[in-house]
């Protein structure tokens, strides 16, 4: 598929990236906590992926390559983004498209995921890639261009913080866990 795109048949790009369209948009939302910014991140990711497709090493994972681009795009945009508190309010105010569910359930989920706003940008990236997207430590390190040790350190801090935040805001989730 990649070869087709590179040979000039650009229509092959859509089937190439369609399996990742939800992933990129969802990750963009989890990073930015804002629907419009998530679309911007996802769109820029796909544009860069197309533009620099020739640089992609075919021996490596295309999915991880896309995630790496998305993290790069996110970092570029994050310097302009509002602080975490504003983001959380924007996230709660916006109603992104998702599966049908009750408003109460959606709000509870949003508030639970808003705990991630308490993480530093690096902790959030590591946590999202490892714990939400299920990338391995090594893959996470490759995507973020940091060492595996750094991933472990940030991951450990991120998980501890998430536990503390949930214990503080939603203690019912952690009761009777002995």
């Amino acid at each position: 598929m990649i070869e087709l795109v590179l040979s000039g048949r650009t229509e092959a790009f859509e089937p190439l990236v369609t399996p990742y369209r939800k992933l990129l948009l969802t990750l963009g939302y989890r990073l930015s906590r804002n629907t419009e910014e998530a679309k911007e991140i996802s769109q820029e990711t796909l544009l860069r992926a197309f533009r620099y497709l020739r640089s992609f090493d075919k021996k490596k994972s295309f999915k991880n390559w896309l995630l790496k681009i998305e993290m790069n795009v996110w970092r570029g945009l994050s310097s302009k983004r509002p602080d975490a508190g504003t983001l959380r309010q924007m996230a709660l105010d916006s109603v992104p498209e998702g599966p049908e569910e009750s408003l109460a359930g959606k709000e509870a989920r949003e508030k639970l995921l808003a705990c991630l706003d308490g993480l530093s940008p690096r902790e959030r990236e590591v946590f999202l890639l490892r714990d939400i997207e299920g990338r391995s430590i090594k893959e996470t390190a490759g995507i973020l261009r940091i060492s595996a040790i750094a991933v472990r350190v940030h991951l450990s801090k991120a998980r501890s913080k998430v536990r503390e935040l949930i214990k503080d805001r939603f203690p019912e989730f952690l009761e009777d866990r002995r």
């Binding site: 369209r21 948009l25 450990s156 002995r178």
Partner: protein, 211 residues
């Protein structure tokens, strides 16, 4: 293992990010420590809650926006192959450092060879002429030097003299030869009779040494 050390590793244990040996050591501690066991359970529960919430939260592009995006992408052009823009430059290898060093040294040598050396100070003769010449030494030394190097003006270094700076100039070519661009001097030890003959060019670069 003490509790504080165990607790540092609990977040990694909760996500199955420890080696089996590390995990076994922690599990042994957890089996006998209720506080650490409680903390480990809370981290696992927190992770599970966030993962469940995240799994329910997936977004997709509205079809029209997706088509518009793909149309926009297709109007772009792929860049020619180059170093991946999102990757750091590859680490230079040792042979690259060596090649660079050889190139630099080679270029420096070439430049030194091509560029003519700077002409010496034009006023050397004048400097020599302006330098006060101290009284001639004992006749025997003068005679001896005149026999060996008749073009030189001999000068005897006084045994108590501590500096040779002015003496070197004073022992140069006679001022009546304005075109002279070589200078020689012969130092003779009065005690041992040892002679040292130096020839310097107009840049005061050492040319020749005779004993």
């Amino acid at each position: 293992m003490n509790c504080s050390r165990v607790r540092r590793s609990l977040p990694l244990l909760a996500g199955n990010d420890l080696t089996p040996a590390q995990a076994r050591r922690l599990e042994r501690h957890l089996a006998r420590c209720p506080d650490c066991r409680q903390e480990a359970a809370e981290i696992r529960a927190a992770l599970a809650a966030v993962r469940t919430a995240a799994a329910q939260e997936t977004f997709d592009w509205p079809e029209a926006e997706w088509k518009a995006l793909i149309a926009r992408v297709n109007s772009e052009r792929t860049e020619p192959r180059r170093r991946p823009f999102l990757l750091p430059a590859p680490a230079p290898r040792s042979w690259a450092y060596a090649a660079a060093l050889i190139l630099i040294v080679g270029a420096a040598l070439l430049i030194l060879k091509i560029i003519p050396s700077k002409p010496g100070p034009a006023g050397l003769t004048e400097t020599l002429a302006a330098t006060p010449v101290l009284p001639p030494p004992a006749l025997s030394v003068k005679e001896a030097l005149a026999a060996v190097h008749p073009q030189d003006r001999p000068y005897m270094i006084h045994p108590r003299q501590e500096t040779l700076g002015r003496v070197l100039l004073a022992a140069g070519a006679p001022p009546e030869k304005p075109t002279q661009d070589m200078m020689s001097m012969t130092l003779v030890s009065q005690k041992t009779g040892l002679q040292v003959h130096w020839t310097l060019n107009r840049n005061f670069d050492w040319e020749e040494k005779k004993k």
